[in-house]
Symmetry: C2
Subunit: 141 residues, 2 copies
Amino acid sequence: MDTSKNISEALKRAGYKLTAPRKAIVQVLEKGGDHLSSSEVLTLGRQIYPLLSRATVYRTLELLTTLGLIRPILLRDAAQRYVTGEGGHHHLLCRECGAVFEFERCGAEQLAAELAERFDFQIRGHLLEFYGICRNCQTDD
Amino acid sequence: MDTSKNISEALKRAGYKLTAPRKAIVQVLEKGGDHLSSSEVLTLGRQIYPLLSRATVYRTLELLTTLGLIRPILLRDAAQRYVTGEGGHHHLLCRECGAVFEFERCGAEQLAAELAERFDFQIRGHLLEFYGICRNCQTDD
DNA sequence: ATGTAATTGAGACAAATTCTCATTTCGGCT
DNA sequence: AGCCGAAATGAGAATTTGTCTCAATTACAT
């Protein structure tokens, strides 16, 4: 699990080429805030590197995910969305209005250790999301 | 959080009509095992109710999700997949080969209670997934 | 500078999801 | 038992998302 936000460094360290398209995508992910979808990454990435192709975005997002540098999350969309950093924050999602709340500490470390042992699995990160009804929507209907 | 598996009952209780298409979909979800995608639900559902339309499957899955009766999970697919029951099991996903391991107890109850209070949020369920490298893939490459 | 394997772009292709709207159906109410 | 209105549905078009192929380009070790 990489604690620094420097995705480029990690990519290089893992033996991958640091190409212009990848730099653009990484820049978008690091600066562009969280919860970006593939097509948002494409649009924003083209502002930096206009030739950027859809396929490259998908390929790069998959690569970064496999390396554990970003992780997918489940929002309301059809589209897959990503956040940077494995240790990062987690979400509460309102199923009524789609609002997203964030929290930091999740205390899954101990469980992670148990599971790693039990399944002989090298855990690199995790996703924790809570679903329910937010304050506003509780008063509606 | 509904502990019984009786989704139909819960639907009715929430004031929704219990139509033939919905019954078919619910039957598929309850008997058909977990990790079903929309198109699998469609195919299986048509064995019960041949007229079943794709749109209805999507609409119903969304409704059941909003009600907290099923929940989406993140596997490797492009397609969204669902599991029944909020309290259900959770996953370890191998980022190398896509293998899925399941575990039951996750101990998120206390955190859930804290967050519910802090955000004034009515929590109905949650998703917890761990990512990493499975036993087999650790020895490869 | 050069060679080579990795990476890319473009666009066809495929799959997943959403939308529209005319028609049907559930279930409360006589 | 039949009626009514709102809710739900089917069909298929439209849109969005994701995958694939292959010739051309590029990073980077030497």
